[in-house]
Amino acid sequence: MMKQTRVFWVYKSAQEAHYLTAQLHAGWRVQARHVCRYTFVPVPAQDGVIRLDYQLAADLPEYTQLMQDAGWTLLMSQPVLGGRWLYWQHADPTARIYTDQRSHIALLRQLRRRWTGVGLGAVALEFVALYLVCLTGATPLRTGLIGGLIGGLAALYGANFVSLTRQIRHLEREQDWRHGNA
């Protein structure tokens, strides 16, 4: 068994998939992930690909059956925001879960909507906390900590929003060009 620590935010999910695929090719298949800590089990070095997807919990049985019919093996899944991050493996290294821009754009929009909603909620809560701290006696340390947390959260979720938006617009431009709408 091998454990590695890596940080991949939502907009880096393609890079996370690429990292896990590289490990698979080297003979390590991901078994679990706890926050940023990945656990791998040894397997024969193999071709194939790992891809990530996000689906709402209500849709999972039908979606999972379709994926398995299409040759995908579910390695693990993580519950998050009313849905699940799903880690899929396919023996064909060229296999893709999404083969057209429209459905890929829909996925990215859903990710952007959910994670931005969470980010806004978290920042709002921090402002409430800051207000309460000010009411009960603010000290430079307390306000600085909360202010830093607000800034950090805003930067993180802001970067997520910007990056996902960039990916969506790139796919939309490609789609428009192909349909002659440029």
């Binding site: 379709l66 994926m67 999404y98 057209d100 429209r102 459905s103």
Partner: protein, 105 residues
């Protein structure tokens, strides 16, 4: 949403709706499209799933049966009407492109 509002169809949507003239489950649609396009078009399962959900939401297909965990869909009259409209659009496009045969190489 009127039929013309939904034109032009993407190639993916067109072939999925065409396949669902007969009742079929999602993977069956993937296999059918791969066969009739001689392997040129192999749809991803995520694309298939998302497009089925959207078409069902838009009233272009209906859920007609469920076996095991597989749901079987079929095109509705609205879906068939959209296919006919897209076929007419493509026929006009191909007809206009026939001028290429008249031009010297």
């Amino acid at each position: 949403m009127s039929t013309t509002d939904q034109l032009p169809m993407s190639e993916t949507a067109f072939y999925i709706l065409l396949a669902l003239r007969q009742p079929m489950h999602g993977y069956g649609v993937i296999q059918h499209i791969e066969a009739i396009t001689a392997g040129r078009l192999v749809l991803g399962a995520g694309t298939m799933y998302g497009t089925l959900k959207k078409m069902q939401h838009d009233g272009l297909i209906d859920l007609v049966a469920t076996t095991d965990s597989r749901k079987i869909y079929q095109a509705t009259p609205a879906g068939i009407a959209l296919l006919r409209a897209e076929r007419a659009r493509l026929q006009e496009l191909v007809q206009n492109a026939e001028v290429l045969d008249d031009e010297a190489d």
